[in-house]
C-alpha cells in the first residue's frame, strides 16, 4: 500500500477539498479560530489562557441520553462533545484535525484507512483507551444504533485492530466524506469494557452516567434542571481543559434563553436554541460577543408532494418557485437571518456550485409567469379563480415556519392556489409528512453534516421507505440517483463537483423541492469566554475555552 501523507490526502479528501475550495472562493476569509483563541494577549499573562472557573451553556431540553453513540439529538451532542472524543475533529474551514487518531494513511484506491491511535489516552474511569474500544464502538454501537453512522458502518467491509494503537478500516467502495464523519458527533469513541456483555445498549447505565475520553467528566444530571461536568485532570491534551466546570441549565422557554445571557446567569447560547426574534436585542448587549455563520451548511426548504395532482407536473412546481417571495420570508419570518436559497444545495458548499444555477435569476418573483406555467401544467382556474387547494404542513413549534407558511399562503393566493396551513405538533407533522405522505406542501430543514453525501442526497434520491427526514416528495429520477451514488464514492473533489453540477441542473429544472434559504447561524457568547468558536460545530472543542477575569 502506498502511503499518503495527511497533507497530500487532505487535497483529495472531502474535508480538505472543501477547505481548499472555500479558501479559493473566499481568499480573505478571516482566520476564525486564531482570532478567538488568543485570550492571553488581552490579560498579558504569557503562560497561556487562565485556568479555572465555571462556564454555563444554555440548552433547551434534556438530552435524550448521554450515550452519544446512539443518538443525533442536539442536546446530547452538546454535552457529549465535551465528554467524548472522535477520531478527528473539524475546524471552521472544514479542515480535518487529529483527535484520538494521531495520524492516518489512505491506500491509493481510497478504500483502506489506517489510523494511528494516540497513546496514553485514558477513560474517565482510568482504564486505557485502545483500538479494541474503537472496533467495538463501530461494530456494536455506531453500526447498530447511531441514526446517521449506521449507514456509514455499512460501507465498511472490515474494521480491524492489528495492534493496540492501530485501527484499519476497509471500505467496500471509496467514500468521500469518511474522515469528516469520524468526528465526535457521528463517531464518538465509547468504552468497550462498560458495554460488552452488559445487555441492552440503549438501557446501559452509561447512558445516564457516561464515561468518555473527553476533556470533561460527568458529575451530575438532574433531569429537567441541569447537567454538570468537571475538568478531567488526565485529559490527553496536556494542560487542557482550562475550565474547572461546565454547567448546562435546561431552559425550555425560548424567550428565557436570551434573558439568561443578558442577566449573566449563562455564558453561551448556540444558534440552535436561539429564537431569531431575540437576535437584534442580544446584539445590542455590550456583555456579549456574536458569531455568525459557523456551522455545517444547512438548508430550509419547501417539499412539494409530487403525488398531489396539482403538483405532479414540473411546470406547476416551477410556478410555485416563481410565486413564493423568499426574500420576504427571510426578512419577516426569519428576522432577516439567512441567505436566499441559491439552488438545490443552497450555497453552503462553494466547491460544487454551478454558476448557471441561481434561483434568484432562474425563478425571480413573477406572478404572471407563474400563472402561465400553471396553465401549461393544466392546473386551470375554476369560475371563482381558484386553481387548486393545497395543505401546507408545518411543525407548530418552529415559529419561523409558521410565519413563513402565512407568507406562502398569501403568495400562492395571488396565483389562484388556496393554501390551508396546518401547524401541528412535531410528532403529528412527522407522521403526516414522512409516514403517511398526507400533505401537499411542507416546510422542513436538513443539516448537511459537512458533506452533501451525508446530509443532502437524502432530500432528492428516490425514497420508498417512509422514514422521517428523507425525500417525502415522491420525486424519483434515476439519473440524479446515479449521479449522487457516483459522487459519494468519488474521492476527487473536482470530479465530484462535476457530478453535482450535472445533478443541480436537473433538480433546478424539475424542482421537486424549493430551497428557501440557507442557514446563517447566530451564536452568542459572554465576552468573558475566550477560545470559543474554534470548531465548525460550536459544541465542539471546549477544551480550548477559558474564562477571562
Amino acid at each position: 500500500m502506498k502511503k499518503l501523507t495527511r497533507r497530500t490526502f487532505l487535497k483529495v479528501s472531502a474535508g480538505g477539498a472543501a477547505a481548499a475550495g472555500l479558501a479559493a472562493c473566499t481568499p480573505a476569509a478571516p482566520a476564525a479560530p486564531a482570532a478567538t483563541a488568543a485570550p492571553a494577549a488581552a490579560t498579558a499573562v504569557p503562560a497561556g489562557p487562565a485556568r479555572g472557573g465555571t462556564a454555563v451553556i444554555v440548552m433547551d431540553s434534556d438530552p435524550d441520553t448521554l450515550n452519544l453513540g446512539v443518538t443525533s439529538n442536539y442536546s446530547s451532542g452538546d454535552v457529549g462533545a465535551k465528554l467524548y472524543n472522535g477520531l478527528i475533529w473539524v475546524d471552521t474551514n472544514f479542515g480535518i484535525k487529529p483527535s484520538l487518531a494521531e495520524s492516518w494513511t489512505i491506500s491509493p484506491d481510497a478504500k483502506v484507512y489506517t489510523f494511528k491511535l494516540r497513546q496514553g489516552v485514558t477513560w474517565h474511569d482510568g482504564k486505557p483507551f485502545t483500538s479494541a474500544d474503537a472496533v467495538y464502538t463501530f461494530q456494536e454501537i455506531l453500526g447498530k444504533f447511531h441514526p446517521r453512522s449506521q449507514a456509514l458502518v455499512k460501507r465498511m467491509k472490515s474494521i480491524e485492530a492489528p495492534d493496540a494503537n492501530t485501527l484499519v478500516i476497509t471500505l467496500v467502495d471509496p467514500y468521500a466524506p469518511l474522515l469528516l464523519q469520524l468526528n465526535v458527533f457521528e463517531a464518538p469513541m465509547l468504552p468497550k469494557h462498560l458495554f460488552d456483555g452488559q445487555g441492552d445498549v440503549l438501557k446501559n447505565p452509561a447512558g445516564l452516567k457516561p464515561i468518555g475520553t473527553g476533556p470533561y467528566k460527568f458529575v451530575e444530571w438532574t433531569k429537567g434542571a441541569s447537567v454538570k461536568l468537571a475538568r478531567y485532570e488526565n485529559y490527553w491534551e496536556k494542560g487542557k481543559p482550562y475550565l474547572d466546570n461546565l454547567v448546562f441549565p435546561i431552559i425550555p422557554q425560548a424567550a428565557n434563553r436570551g434573558t439568561a445571557l443578558e442577566t449573566g446567569e449563562a455564558d453561551f447560547l448556540a444558534s440552535f436554541y436561539l429564537p431569531l426574534t431575540d437576535v437584534e436585542r442580544l446584539s445590542k448587549s455590550d456583555k456579549l460577543n456574536q458569531k455568525r455563520g459557523i456551522a455545517f451548511p444547512a438548508i430550509y426548504f419547501m417539499m412539494m408532494n409530487n403525488a398531489t395532482p396539482a403538483l405532479a407536473k414540473k411546470e406547476a412546481r416551477q410556478a410555485i418557485a416563481f410565486a413564493v417571495d423568499r426574500a420576504r420570508i427571510i426578512t419577516q419570518a426569519n428576522a432577516g437571518i439567512g441567505r436566499i436559497g441559491r439552488g438545490p444545495f443552497g450555497d453552503g458548499f462553494k466547491w460544487l456550485l454551478d454558476p448557471a444555477v441561481d434561483y434568484s435569476k432562474m425563478y425571480p418573483r413573477d406572478v404572471a409567469k407563474a400563472k402561465s406555467l400553471l396553465d401549461a401544467a393544466g392546473v386551470a382556474a375554476a369560475a371563482d379563480g381558484t386553481r387548486a387547494k393545497l395543505r401546507l404542513v408545518v411543525d407548530s413549534a418552529r415559529a419561523p415556519f409558521v410565519t413563513a407558511a402565512q407568507i406562502i399562503k398569501e403568495n400562492l393566493k395571488e396565483i389562484g392556489i388556496e393554501v390551508e396551513v396546518q401547524a401541528v405538533e412535531r410528532a403529528v407533522m412527522t407522521q403526516k409528512v414522512y409516514t403517511d405522505r398526507d400533505y401537499d406542501l411542507t416546510l422542513q430543514s436538513f443539516v448537511s453534516s459537512g458533506d452533501p453525501a451525508i446530509g443532502y442526497h437524502r432530500l432528492y434520491v428516490t425514497t420508498t421507505t417512509r422514514v422521517a427526514s428523507t425525500n417525502a416528495t415522491g420525486y424519483s429520477n434515476t439519473v440524479v440517483d446515479g449521479l449522487f451514488a457516483k459522487a459519494a464514492v468519488t474521492p476527487d473533489q473536482g470530479a465530484r463537483a462535476a457530478l453535482y453540477v450535472e445533478a443541480q441542473k436537473i433538480l433546478a429544472d424539475e424542482m421537486p423541492t424549493l430551497v428557501l434559504y440557507d442557514d446563517d447561524t447566530v451564536n452568542f457568547a459572554s465576552k468573558k469566554l475566550a477560545g470559543v468558536f474554534g470548531a465548525i460545530d460550536v459544541r465542539d472543542r471546549w477544551e480550548d475555552v477559558s474564562l477571562t477575569k
Binding site: 465555571t54 435524550d64 435546561i250 428565557n256 439568561a260 405538533e425 412527522t430
Partner: protein
Amino acid sequence: MWRYILKRLAQALPVVLGVIVFNFTLIQLAPGDPVTLLVGDYPATEEYTRQVRADFGLDQPVPVRLARYLEQLARGNLGFSFANRMPVGELIAQRFGPTLMLMLTALGLAILIGIPLGVIAARNRGRLSDWVAQVGALAGYSTPDFWMGQLLILIFAVALGWLPSQGMRSARSVATGMQATLEVFPYLILPAFALGFRYIALLSRITRSAMLDALSADSVMGARAKGLSERRVLIAHVLRNAALPIVTVIGYNLGLLIAGSALIETVFSWPGVGRLLFDSISKRDYPVMTAILMMVSITVVIANLITDLVYAALDPRVRYAR
C-alpha cells in the same frame, strides 16, 4: 371514621383505573409516532426503526400494551421511559419534590394573601378598598398564568434585577445540603407567585362573598349584641362560618394548581412534574404521561377526601355516618 375513609378510597379505585385506561388509550390513538421522534432527525434504516419499536414494546397492538402496562403496574412498576431512557418511577421521584415545593408555596401564598384580602373587602363593602380588591381579583382571575409569569420575569428579573429569572438555583452554585436548600428560596418567589396568582384572586372572591353571607346571619347580630369586640366577631363567628365554602374551594380547585404548574414550570424552567408531563405528551412518552396523570388523579381524589373530612370537622351538620 376509618370505615368512611376506606370506603371512599375503595370508591376512588375505579376512578383512578378509568383515568389510566382512558389516557393510555387516548394518547395512543392520537396521531404521532414516538419512534419517529426517538430515531432522530436523520433517516434511520427500517431495520433500526423496527428494532427501536420492538425494544420499547411499541410493536404490539394497543390492547396488548395496555394489558402489559396494567400487569406491571399491579406489581408496582411504572414502566420505562423511552424518551428519557430510564425507569419512570425514578424519573418522577426526581421531579416530584420541586413540584410539591412550588405547589405548597403557591397554596400558602394564596391562603395568606387571598383570605385576608377577602376579609378586608367584605369588612369594607362598597368602599374604595373593597372596590380595589374586587377589580384586582377579577383581573387576577382572568390573567393567564404563563403570561403573568413572563411579565414577572421581565419586571423583577430583567428590568429590576432583583430576582433570578429561571431555574431552581444558580447554575454556578456549588452549595450542598442546607445551603443548597436555602439557595432555592429567591428562585421560588416568582414562579410560586405566578402559579398562586389566580388562586389568590379566587380565594379572595370566595372569602368576600362567604363573609358577606355570614355577616348577615342573625348570630352575628347576637354576638355584637353581647358586646363582643368586632375583631372577635369577625374571627370567631363570621370567618368560622364562612370557612366552609373557602375550604371547599381550596380543596376542589387543587387541580387548578396542578394544571397551572405544567405551564409555570415551563416558563420558569422549574424542574418539576408538570413540565415533565408537558414534555412527555409532546414526545409521546406514554409510560411517563400515564404515570403522571395517574398520580394527578390520585392527588385529586385524596385532596377531595381531605376536604370532605375537614368539612365534616368544621360543620357538625355534616358527618361521615353510614
